[in-house]
């Protein structure tokens, strides 16, 4: 298999993924969550939040970079985008086993590894796109509301780290999806993994 052939397959998987309504809706959701970040920062700065007798609100840094940081915190803590990644990977791998469409790709003269790898890389492109959308919408609103001040390298590093952890999560889901070959089985498998991870984390 030539690198060019693999790039064609990857491009096809990206096109297929982005043609899904759930993937498009996910990008809109990523933008909404990003917009909510600076809004929450603004609301928190206006609220009178006390902790140990001291005002937390008055200590908040109101800057464009901080607004973007809040957008990232909201994205990562809500897990809503991660749930979408789980769904997209489950649909593009296990869903294709169920619909038998993956069989049509497997009978082509391509090595087997190329099929899941191209699907994983396509999901990675979606994750990157969702982060770019979040950066643009969250950053724009934040800059308009609070100015362009603050340390921008911090959210940049945060968004980069989120990309890596989300891509890793997508790889985990993909492995479970390849093994289970069922959407429900993939979701159940990921939940079992997350529960075991949490329980073992406490125990150890």
């Amino acid at each position: 298999m030539t690198p060019r052939h693999f790039l064609e397959i990857w491009r096809a998987e990206i096109a297929k993924l982005f043609s899904r309504t759930s993937a498009r809706a996910g990008l809109v959701l990523a933008a909404l969550v990003a917009i909510a970040g600076p809004l929450f920062l603004f609301m928190a700065s206006r609220a009178d939040i006390q902790m140990n007798g001291q005002s937390v609100s008055s200590g908040l840094e109101l800057s464009g970079a901080m607004g973007l940081q809040w957008a990232l915190e909201l994205r990562n803590n809500s897990q809503i985008l991660r749930a979408l990644i789980l769904m997209l990977v489950a649909l593009s791998v296990a869903g294709e086993y169920r619909a038998r469409t993956i069989r049509e790709d497997l009978i082509r003269p391509v090595p087997r590894w190329a099929v899941p790898l191209s699907k994983w890389l396509a999901v990675d492109v979606w994750i990157l796109a969702s982060l770019v959308v979040a950066w643009v919408f969250g950053g724009l609103l934040s800059t308009i509301a609070f100015g362009a001040g603050g340390t921008w390298s911090q959210p940049l590093l945060g968004y980069g780290a989120t990309f890596l952890t989300d891509a890793g999560f997508a790889a985990l889901v993909l492995m479970i999806a390849v093994l289970s070959r069922s959407v429900a089985g993939t979701i159940a498998g990921v939940f079992v993994y997350l529960i075991l991870d949490t329980v073992l984390g406490w125990a150890l």
């Binding site: 064609e8 096809a12 082509r108 003269p109």
Partner: protein
Amino acid sequence: MEVRGLTRSYGHRKAVDALDLTVRVGDVYGFLGPNGAGKTTAMRCILGLIRRDAGEIAIFGDKGVSARRHVGAIVESPAFHEWLSGHRNLVLSAAYAGVENPRAEVDRVLERVGLAERAADRAGTYSLGMKQRLAIARALLTRPRLMLLDEPTNGLDPRGMHEIREFIRSLALHDGITVFISSHLLAEVQQICNRVGIIQDGRLRAEGYVKELVSGDVSSLVVEIGTPEPDKLSTALEGVDGAEVLGPGESGRIRVRPGALEPAALNAHLVQAGVPVEAFVPIQRSLEDVFLELTQ
């Protein structure tokens, strides 16, 4: 396509057992067998969808992944991304197939199967016959030299079956494509295939030209004889080595196995014995007869 010693087991059960097949260039080859005989397993092994335990598969001299570049295939019922158009489905498949100039090729195959006008519609809105044609278009994307078709007319109405049958014929005649068809429809296979392989319990029972298989040898010949005096007929046959009355045939005639005599000699013998012969019809065996004999 040369398949030698193909074996695939599920647990202790051998689904395909040392299967040998030879499909020659230009053949329209019918792959027959009862349910559970191992046809689909064999086809899946040939296409690399499942691993084989043993055996060799060579397609136009190539083996392994590279052999599949010669092949277009429809395995079981056709599956598409229902939310995408027929055209878009084929463009995505073309990427996997490594097709140069995919858009032009997609237009070519859509034109070839007569779906160009509906190409922009969502695949989910296609009838089963249209989906089958779209599947053939997808299989044709790589300009294959061998087409593997698993039950290509399954679920189609008579018109759809006729269309697909004619299309398969034209693939062989006009496009020079060798065709390998798995089917339960023996009459259909007899109509369109020149060679067949019959498989049962994972093993090849017979392989050869349809004409040779249905003609059989003299001992398998059956004749239907019309006569108002069936008792005389029975008496006359008693003296002929291997001859026997099999029972009633079509239109009140009597079905007879002529034994050692050729049909013309049998007719002369009956007339000489004073049997009033009103009709004398040699019955050619159908592929179904051959199939039932071999798979009993």
